[in-house]
């Protein structure tokens, strides 16, 4: 008798549909320290009345135009100063600040025109001229630009209109907003929405752990210990209506060969462990894991390296049926040793592994995944001068002197790159060797550090994720390629709003023979 697959599920925490992105910019307010009243300073900056008095006294003597002036104010300990320094406006501040981006109707609905409202601060009364929005979504990225009217400049907000031709389907959409003044100043902001269904209920499937836009496949992971294949995907139910939608707990799942309506490989049903209730104008998310033992239809298809289509169907309490599909397949894989060169702060460590997760998703879109990510560090005391890479020779020395003895790619994340003035990544070879030893067996990248508005040391997650993916691409044999949107572009590896993360089928083929690529 053939074995059968079984499914289990859990509800996932989710973010609101109108603030959906894990790595979005954080909305903020700015307080003009030269104009705000004492009570505003106390209330918005959460400083003591005494410190507020001293700021008022200081600005009577001279306009506050430098953070160092503020730092000298007695009663502002460095911790408080670091907390507020990104929230104050100084005299003559030459920047344009985007404070927040919202949808004019709070939410975005599928296949309907919408507008994004960009709120900004313009302390030096610059001639703010153009807003540019790059949209990353399931299809090809596009840009909408618009000139600002004098009224919009005065009001410090502008509505960027997306007409019917530029409306979006259900699912996540990432908006990279840039606001330019006529003198070339630029403010930036990133905001993600989950576009809600207009019809108004939908169910869609995505790969487990997906945090970037686009469509790709769920993985069938072979589990050594149990001799099973595990398929995990995420369910998102979108509710575009103004009332809560209760769903029946019964979930029907089917695995098809040749798409829905082709050959049914296996099917089953289970009850969701708990109530499923989709909030009004919001989403609900859950995760489904299907375990397929040896002898089951799904196991056999995966074992034969065939892909399948998963279909999941649920029914609302009022009888409405919703269903979604996603392709699932076994993937090839490589492992990475992520090696911090020098000590990182706790937040930098979190950012680094978020970036590595983006690297994973870039490759999964081309059906290559990570075997595993091993976390390594060379502490300050041992890293020596390798914390800062000054030359190609120094990279080779680093690769020669340090190595993780396994068949994973060594990725050295250095504190800084000062080599050549413009470089921030390097691969030991194209392709890199498939055996450890020598001075070519690794890639090195700049950690892309910056200090955020609260004084916290951070890494630029999106950039670092692409940077690691780019250098690993070299290691796996990919040369540079001038193709719009491609990960291996030599020029503009990353510019604001660009989504240069594509790998084409030829590149996929080129990587496969590398000795560090394995079939899981």
């Amino acid at each position: 008798m053939a074995a059968n697959s079984s499914a289990r599920a859990k509800t996932l925490r989710t973010r609101p549909a109108n603030a959906f992105g894990l790595y979005d910019s954080v909305p903020f307010t700015l307080i003009d320290v030269n104009r705000a009243s004492k009570s505003e300073l106390v209330q918005h900056l959460r400083i003591t009345p005494e410190a507020a008095d001293r700021i008022v006294a200081l600005r009577r003597a001279q306009r506050i135009s430098d953070l160092q002036q503020l730092r000298s104010v007695a009663g502002l300990p460095s911790r408080t100063f670091n907390r507020i320094r990104g929230r104050v406006l100084l005299a003559g501040d030459p920047r344009v600040h985007i404070l927040d981006v919202t949808a004019s109707d709070d939410y975005i609905f599928s296949d309907k025109p919408f507008a994004l409202r960009v709120h900004f601060a313009n302390p030096s009364d610059l001639e703010v001229a153009i807003v540019s929005v790059a949209v990353l979504w399931a299809g090809e990225s596009f840009v909408v630009e618009q000139e600002l009217t004098s009224e919009e400049v005065q009001q410090c907000h502008v509505d960027v209109r997306f007409d019917e031709e530029r409306s979006l389907p259900v699912g996540p959409a990432e908006f990279h907003v840039a606001l330019y003044s006529a003198n070339g100043a630029q403010g930036s902001f990133q905001k993600t929405f989950c576009v809600l269904p207009s019809n108004p209920l939908s169910l869609s499937l995505s790969p487990a752990g997906a945090t970037v836009t686009g469509t790709w496949s769920a993985r069938g992971d072979y589990q050594d210990g149990s001799d099973t294949f595990l398929t995990e995907c995420e369910i998102t139910i979108g509710n575009g209506d103004t009332g809560i939608v209760s769903m029946n707990r019964r979930v029907n799942w089917k695995f098809w060969d040749g798409g829905v309506g082709g050959t049914l490989v296996e099917s089953g049903a289970f009850d969701w462990p708990g109530p499923v209730s989709v909030p009004e104008r919001d989403i609900w998310r859950g995760s489904v894991q299907v375990t397929s033992p040896r002898g089951s239809g799904i196991y056999n298809r995966y074992n034969g390296k065939e892909d399948m289509t998963i279909e999941i169907e649920m029914v609302a309490a009022d009888g409405r049926h919703v269903a979604g599909t996603i392709t699932c397949r076994v993937m090839l894989a490589y492992g990475v040793n992520i090696i911090k060169v020098g000590d990182f702060t706790a937040q930098e460590g979190v950012d680094l592994y978020s970036a590595v997760d983006i690297t994973r998703q870039i490759y999964e879109r081309r059906s290559i995944t990570f075997r595993s990510v091993l976390r390594k560090i060379i502490h300050d005391a041992d890293a020596g001068s390798y914390r800062i890479i000054n030359s190609e020779a120094e990279c080779y020395d680093l690769f020669r002197n340090w190595s993780v003895p396994n068949d994973y790619i060594d990725v050295y994340v250095c504190q800084d790159f000062l080599w050549g003035g413009t470089l921030d990544g390097f691969s030991g070879g194209i392709p890199g060797p498939a055996a450890k030893g020598g001075d070519r067996d690794g890639v090195a990248v700049d950690k892309t550090g910056f200090t955020d508005g609260s004084g916290v040391k951070r890494l630029k997650i999106s950039y670092l994720g692409m940077l690691i993916a780019h250098e690993v691409g070299h290691y796996l044999g990919l040369p540079h390629l001038q193709e719009t949107g491609n990960l291996m572009l030599a020029y503009s590896v990353y510019s604001y709003g660009a989504n240069n993360t594509n790998l084409n089928y030829d590149q996929y083929q080129l990587m496969l023979p590398h000795g560090f690529i394995v079939f899981l």
């Binding site: 910019s25 160092q68 030459p94 920047r95 153009i130 540019s132 399931a138 299809g139 840009v143 909408v144 630009e145 618009q146 530029r166 006529a182 003198n183 070339g184 630029q186 403010g187 930036s188 990133q190 040749g258 034969g304 390296k305 065939e306 892909d307 392709t327 397949r329 090839l332 020098g342 890293a383 390798y386 800062i388 990279c395 504190q415 000062l418 050549g420 003035g421 413009t422 470089l423 921030d424 990544g425 691969s427 892309t448 550090g449 200090t451 630029k460 950039y463 070299h474 540079h480 030599a490 020029y491 503009s492 990353y494 510019s495 604001y496 496969l512 023979p513 690529i517 394995v518 079939f519």
Partner: protein
């Protein structure tokens, strides 16, 4: 193990996912002919991230004199939502312009411990480049910076712009320096400092 034939073993036949309304949306652009600075800003954003991979062929980033105000603007933009790599490279690019304003901006960034070490380090190198004759005295201060990474950059910068007097500075530093990274960089600097340098063009 390498497996050149591995691709032939896969059977990826499932129909690709479809988007009912299609995968393309037309872009809508503003004609930037009337906005020279914005056009150049966008070009500079791209130029400053051009050939950032060490596996690229080296490309000299040429900046026009008219780029200076925009590069200064980028240097001013400590924006957590912007791309720190663009700003870091812009700060380095300022080293190509020897003006008082550039020196002031680089000095401010270098001495601002609220800036990330990466940007401070680039500013320090650029400053040494802008003012080679003042480099040793200027960099001396940073040999005692609180951050070991900045001390390491200061030693590297002395290698680029220092003279024989710098050897003494680095030797003295070695006597008190605890950080191994700086200690390793220092002897390299001593070996390189004061090597014959190419005279500047006097055209």
């Amino acid at each position: 193990m390498a497996n050149p034939g591995i691709i032939d073993e896969f059977y990826n036949n499932e129909p690709p996912p479809t988007i009912p309304s299609g995968t393309q949306r037309p872009s809508k652009r503003v004609d930037l002919q009337r906005f020279d600075a914005i056009r150049r800003r966008q070009e500079l954003n791209a130029l400053l991230t051009r050939c950032t991979c060490g596996d690229s062929e080296a490309v000299v980033q040429d900046f026009e004199p008219g780029d200076l105000p925009i590069l200064l603007q980028i240097a001013h933009e400590r924006d957590p939502n912007g791309n720190p790599a663009i700003r870091k490279h812009a700060v380095r690019a300022l080293g190509q312009f020897r003006t008082l304003e550039v020196m002031e901006v680089l000095w401010r960034i270098t001495s601002d411990d609220l800036e990330s070490e990466a940007v401070r380090g680039q500013a320090l190198l650029a400053l040494a480049h802008v003012t080679p004759s003042l480099a040793p005295s200027l960099l001396k201060e940073y040999l005692d910076d609180e951050s070991a990474l900045i001390r390491q950059v200061a030693v590297s910068a002395l290698t680029e712009g220092g003279d024989q007097s710098s050897v003494k500075l680095v030797t003295e530093l070695l006597e008190r320096e605890q950080d191994i990274g700086v200690r390793q960089r220092a002897p390299m600097a001593v070996q390189s400092i004061g090597k014959p340098r190419i005279p500047e063009s006097d055209m």
